[in-house]
Symmetry: C2
Subunit: 258 residues, 2 copies
Amino acid sequence: MNTNAKQSYRLVGILGGMGPAATIDLMQKIIATTPAMRDQEHVPLVVWNVPQIPERVRAIEDPSAASPAPAMCAGAVALARAGAQAIAIACNTAHYWAEEIGAAAKIPLIHIVDAALDALPAKASGPPARVMLLATEGTHKAGIYTQRAAARGLSLEVPNAQVQRAINDCIRFTKANQLTEARAQLIIPLTQLRASGVDTFLLGCTELPLLVSGTPFQAQSLDATAALAAAVIDFSLGSVAHKSDKTIRNPHLGDKVA
Amino acid sequence: MNTNAKQSYRLVGILGGMGPAATIDLMQKIIATTPAMRDQEHVPLVVWNVPQIPERVRAIEDPSAASPAPAMCAGAVALARAGAQAIAIACNTAHYWAEEIGAAAKIPLIHIVDAALDALPAKASGPPARVMLLATEGTHKAGIYTQRAAARGLSLEVPNAQVQRAINDCIRFTKANQLTEARAQLIIPLTQLRASGVDTFLLGCTELPLLVSGTPFQAQSLDATAALAAAVIDFSLGSVAHKSDKTIRNPHLGDKVA
């Protein structure tokens, strides 16, 4: 008996390429978290992993720089045309343009910040947990996390300039496939922050979970990518209510498929 | 100076989902093999990772079973519509329908078997190298590798029934995310085959590289997925001549992008 034999799945579009390794990390987390015993029980995804997009952080910092919005909107439209019923963006910084992207695609956006804030552990008593946001300078400057957190009455701490420089170096090394060099940047600042009383590191850049994985900091980190993966699964499997009820129900799949 | 600043890239469509982990493995190998120092130098991919496709091996063995061809062709058409200029299929067995898929998409197919046979090491002297094909029963029965090898004057060995059963179990465990159990199936048969004089294991199922990676058999294995990744990069970067010369040249990317 396979209880999932009649399960329907919504197709989710992943707007990726920022960078490609972070896109794969999101896909991997979706697969690893899905309760599947065979191929057909995994979440259907269509992935736009096209990295030829102008730099996001630079565009936030310098209004005269090339905007990534047209390329991202084109990717979102391609995903919607391919049948995606919602879009998830595999890059925190790119959420600066989230409204524009969702409007271009004309389908709902599964927002990484909402997914991450939903996943923050609740603290039963005592002073509120100290949560430090680790992200790109662009994400900080644009207030991508802090604004949505404030709307929920949550306060997020941000690193000082010295720690932020180490985070910037980390992210750059990761995008160049230099994971060992990238990880080396993190150890001292995160150790100091932990000693100073930070409870949770909110990993608000999709490159950071690649680095923190397997380190002593993993246990007190909240991975926004993992939170987004869980939200994508919920949407696809239908446990998130949504006005659209079109689903992938392959006429060629049925009781004969084992 | 960045010599790649003016590089153009062809968009490649990946027909995946068979299974999803193998699709990610192909993407990962493309990224790891691409000489890139920043996001924008990675190969642009659009990925159809929709696993709701009837079982491929069953359809080859039993003509009355549901055919995966309509779902695969629909995926290929979606990739072509999204702008893909060639298709790579992240599943060896699915290449049984390669001609049908290519015809539906009306774009070239980068064939995994050709990529793998191109990558077989040449032997300078002595008797020909003994190459054993490890694959699904469907791939063996359909002659997906052996026919194309024979056309090149190459002979591939195939496992006996007992070893094939272990390979089948391996692949099933991998698709259920049970990598430890899957790997345990391989050790004795591959050790025996090596002792009997097999020079190279040709990993002709996209799940197998996930298992052989990090084992003593990796050094004498030829990974068809890695060969396909290299062929995808060659196509995208333009080192493979092709009549189509449409490329991704983002008007928003230029000297300003660092």
